[in-house]
């Protein structure tokens, strides 16, 4: 190179010194900033310049490896559009010669683009000069300088600059070599540090993340598990290594997990799967297994990284949600309730529950029906009603409540109760209308049936004079009173349910305390109520009411309500009173009958009484004579005295029997031996029978059970029937047979058979009627009283004609008297 031998003239010692200073300054391998500063200081003393440039190209390349631009104002932008090959620095670099432009604007070597670029910068640039940056071993680039307008670079200036360029080239070359090595070393060190730090951070991260982490080799064999993973599974790192970790996977999930893991490895893609992992204590929890491959530049798997995230709570929540949804769907199915959501603007159906599809007969596979399709399902007569209600909800944003009918595809008509509710956005706009549709067909049928039933019940209560009531015993107020209750108590339902006090006022004053006491006692004793009372109606009418109640207990066994009925028993009470009056009249008549009969029997009874008395007197006389003997015969006297007492007792018995028949008293039931009564009456009427030359024979069954009966009334029955038989045989010297026996049905059957005149012809069915008689002196009461008494004992009496002569009267007596008897 022509400039290589340039040495600054000694006469110009200051430039020489400048070269040395530059060389010395650059020997310490300055940074680019230092280089700029040094050159600016050392060159500025000798050369005028706007900027200077140091351009270093990569070897065998037009690419700039390194560039330094001195001073602040830059002309670099002017070079932006100039190809490298046309740049002055490149010319000097490639030719290894100075590239000196004295006037850039006119010099043809200056590319037009550069000229335009310099002009565009508006900088007044004079000469340009570039000298090569070259060492004996290497071409680096070029050192350049642009001078201000009007300045000129002389050949000495060019030589001086070439010398500076040589010094700079050496410095840059050394610096480059040194810098590259240092940079490489530093970069390697930094990479190592980063790698170590990254590994440390990764390790810390892996150990600190709440998830369980692991890594595996490219073949899938596990290499690493973080502490959390090992602690959870209760495994050591050695145990979990390779495929040892699979022992902690739930047996039911293992095949699917391993299969998926192999699929991932084959595909070299990330993936995740859920499986249960056994905890150290044996409990299994659901985990999300997530794996990601680390690939090299060739797409080969270097390593697998993965995490296991505990999703047990999420799974449970999902299961709970699924159960909840299933329950909801089931509840909707059972209650025939569908739910839906409709867009507030477009009225497009957003959601229908399964039950909605069922209710309206749509196929879920066909998707959600449109609003108009849904309207078509509605019964034509109800469609307008539903549209009006729907429009009102959509337009006025108010709730909708409407009942209507639908016609399903198979023609079935169902009743639906629809409820819609507007859902508003934060701005108050209608976002959706959510609603429910309930099939109320069965409910309506039940309601109609209930109404019918209530009507029937009310009618039944009306017919039976029964009113029902339910009373809150805590608040002492009624909670239910039937229509018939109001009618019976003569309250007006329109006035509301009467208070307890009003009810009491309606009760007859004489019965009020008794009823209230019975009611309160039933509550206190938790017992049933059965009370009868009179009510005094506003028109002074008195009615008899029977109130029956039953306590209703709460969970604690306390009485909270009494529920029951009232029955108007006025007619029954009046009938009973009438019955009692008739009974008393009958008793009176029966007494008269007995007195009258006994009057007729006076002679016979007197004889009957006289006989034992006479016997007693005779025995007394015999007794005395036995005692008055010289040698008193005490045994005979004693026997006579005993017989005497027996005779006296017999006389007393007859008198007592007669007296009891005379007695006018109330009915008195006791256990009675019917055979004993028969014997008594036979004894009492023996003399009367003798007067008629009638023989009485008895045939009494042994061990007959006693019956509950009024002894006197049974005596009267037997007396009347026996006298009736005796009197039927006035001239025949007949026989009266009296027989007792037990029927197969367990009843006592007493038969009286005579050989008399028999039943009156054509009037046999009237003989038990009151005042019917065939006797000239008869009252017509005897047999009528017999029937009344027998029937009042629950028995039956009848008469049949004998096959030969006479009549047989029979009556039965039940062993147990019926309640109504």
């Amino acid at each position: 190179m022509s400039g290589d031998g340039y040495i600054p003239p000694r006469s110009d010692g200051r430039r020489y010194e400048a070269v040395l200073r530059v060389s010395e300054a650059l020997s310490v391998c300055p940074e680019a900033e230092d280089l700029t500063k040094i050159l600016s200081e050392q060159l500025g003393e000798f050369l005028a310049f706007l900027q200077f440039y140091i351009i270093v190209y990569k070897e065998n390349s037009t690419e700039v490896e390194w560039a330094v631009v001195g001073r602040e104002r830059s002309l670099v932008a002017a070079y932006a559009d100039v190809p490298v090959e046309q740049r002055p620095s490149w010319q000097s670099y490639t030719t290894q010669e100075p590239f000196h432009i004295r006037d850039w604007s006119t010099d043809e070597r200056v590319p037009a683009r550069l000229k335009r670029g310099i002009a565009a910068q508006g900088i007044e640039v004079g000469p340009l000069i570039f000298v090569p940056l070259t060492t004996p071993h290497r071409r680096l680039g070029a050192l350049g300088m642009s001078g201000p307008l009007g300045s000129v670079y002389s050949s000495d200036d060019v030589s001086f600059l070439r010398l500076i360029g040589r010094v700079v080239a050496f410095a840059i070359d050394d610096n480059f070599n040194l810098t590259r090595a240092e940079v490489a070393q530093r970069e390697l060190q930094r990479q190592n540090e980063r790698l170590q730090r990254s590994e440390r951070e990764l390790h810390e991260l892996i150990e600190s993340i709440p998830s369980m982490a692991w890594s595996a080799a490219a073949d899938g064999a596990a290499e690493f598990f973080n502490r959390r993973w090992l602690a959870y599974a209760g495994l050591t790192a050695d145990q979990a290594q390779g495929w040892g970790w699979t022992v902690a996977v739930h047996p039911d999930d293992l095949n699917a997990l391993v299969g998926y893991w192999r699929t991932l490895m084959a595909s070299r893609r990330s993936g995740e799967i859920e499986a249960r992992l056994r905890r150290f204590d044996g409990a299994y929890r659901w985990f999300l297994f997530r794996a990601t491959p680390s690939l090299d530049d060739n797409g080969r798997v270097v390593k697998w990284y993965g995490t296991n995230t505990d999703i047990e709570e999420r799974k449970r929540a999902e299961q709970a949600l699924r159960r909840s949804e299933a329950y909801l769907a089931e509840a909707q199915r059972l209650t025939h309730t569908g739910s839906c959501a409709i867009d507030g603007t477009s009225r497009e159906t957003l959601y229908w529950s399964e039950e909605m599809f069922r209710l309206f007969g749509f196929d879920p596979q066909q998707g959600l029906p449109m609003w108009d399709q849904w309207l078509q399902r509605i019964h034509p007569e109800d469609r307008d009603k539903v549209k009006v209600a729907g429009d009102r909800t959509f337009l006025k944003k108010v709730d909708c409540d409407v009942e209507f009918r639908i016609v399903k595809p198979d023609g079935t008509v169902r009743h639906i109760h629809g409820i819609g509710h507007p859902v508003l956005s934060p701005k108050g706009e209608l976002a959706q209308v959510v609603g429910t549709m309930v099939d109320i067909t069965e409910r309506m049928r039940a309601e109609e049936a209930l109404k019918r039933s209530e009507t029937y019940l009310a009618q039944a209560q009306r017919v039976a004079n029964i009113g029902s009531w339910v009373f809150d015993t805590v608040r002492m107020k009624p909670v239910h009173l039937s229509t018939e209750w109001y009618r019976l108590q003569n309250f007006d339902p329109r006035d509301g349910m009467p208070t307890w006090e009003k009810r009491l006022q309606r009760i007859h004053p004489e019965d009020r305390d008794r009823y209230e006491g019975a009611f309160n006692r039933a509550i206190a004793e938790k017992s049933d109520l059965d009370a009868e009372f009179r009510i005094l109606l506003p028109d002074s009418t008195v009615r008899y009411i029977r109130s029956l109640g039953h306590p209703v207990l709460d969970a604690f066994g306390e009485v909270t309500q009494m529920m029951g009925v009232i029955v108007d028993v006025t007619e029954s009470r009046q009938a009973e009173q009438e019955h009692e009056r008739l009974r008393q009249e009958l008793a009176h008549l029966a007494h008269l009958n007995r007195v009258s009969t006994l009057g007729e029997l006076t002679a016979s009874l007197a004889h009957e009484i006289k006989q034992p008395i006479g016997a007693a007197v005779t025995n007394a006389e015999a007794c005395l004579r036995f005692l008055d003997r010289d040698q008193p015969d005490v045994p005979e006297a004693r026997e006579a005295a005993l017989e005497m007492t027996r005779d006296a007792r017999r006389a007393a018995d007859i008198i007592e029997h007669v007296r009891s028949l005379y007695r006018k008293g109330s009915s008195h039931d006791e256990m009675v031996d019917i055979n004993e009564v028969i014997r008594e009456m036979v004894d009492m009427l023996r003399d009367e029978a003798s007067r008629y030359c009638v023989v009485m024979r008895t045939d009494l069954a042994e061990r007959l059970p006693k019956v509950m009966a009024d002894r006197v009334q049974l005596q009267q029955v037997l007396m009347n029937l026996m006298l009736n038989g005796i009197e039927a045989m006035p001239e025949t010297a007949g026989e009266l047979g009296i027989k007792s026996q037990l029927t197969e049905e367990g009843q006592l059957l007493i038969s009286l058979t005579d050989s008399g005149v028999g039943l009156p012809t054509g009037k046999a069915d009237q003989i038990f009627n009151t005042f019917f008689t065939t006797k000239s002196q008869g009252t017509g009461l005897g047999l009528a009283i017999v029937r009344s008494i027998v029937e009042s004992h629950g028995g039956r009496v009848w008469a049949t004609a004998n096959s030969g002569q006479g009549t047989t009267f029979q009556f039965t007596l039940p062993q147990k008297r019926a309640a109504h008897a």
Binding site: Q611, A615, A616, T618, E621, A622, R625, F626, D633, D647
Partner: protein
Amino acid sequence: MSPADEAAVFIIDDDARMRAATERLLKSVGLHAEPFATPQGFPRRSADRNAPNKR
């Protein structure tokens, strides 16, 4: 003395107790009595007593 040779008082009364009392009274004065409930029984007994082949 056999009953056939003894004097007897015959009693006819349909009342058993009165019959027994009368018999007892006759006995107390040393008389032998034979009671009958019906008159029909008395002739049969009387005939029996008077029959020659009684013994």
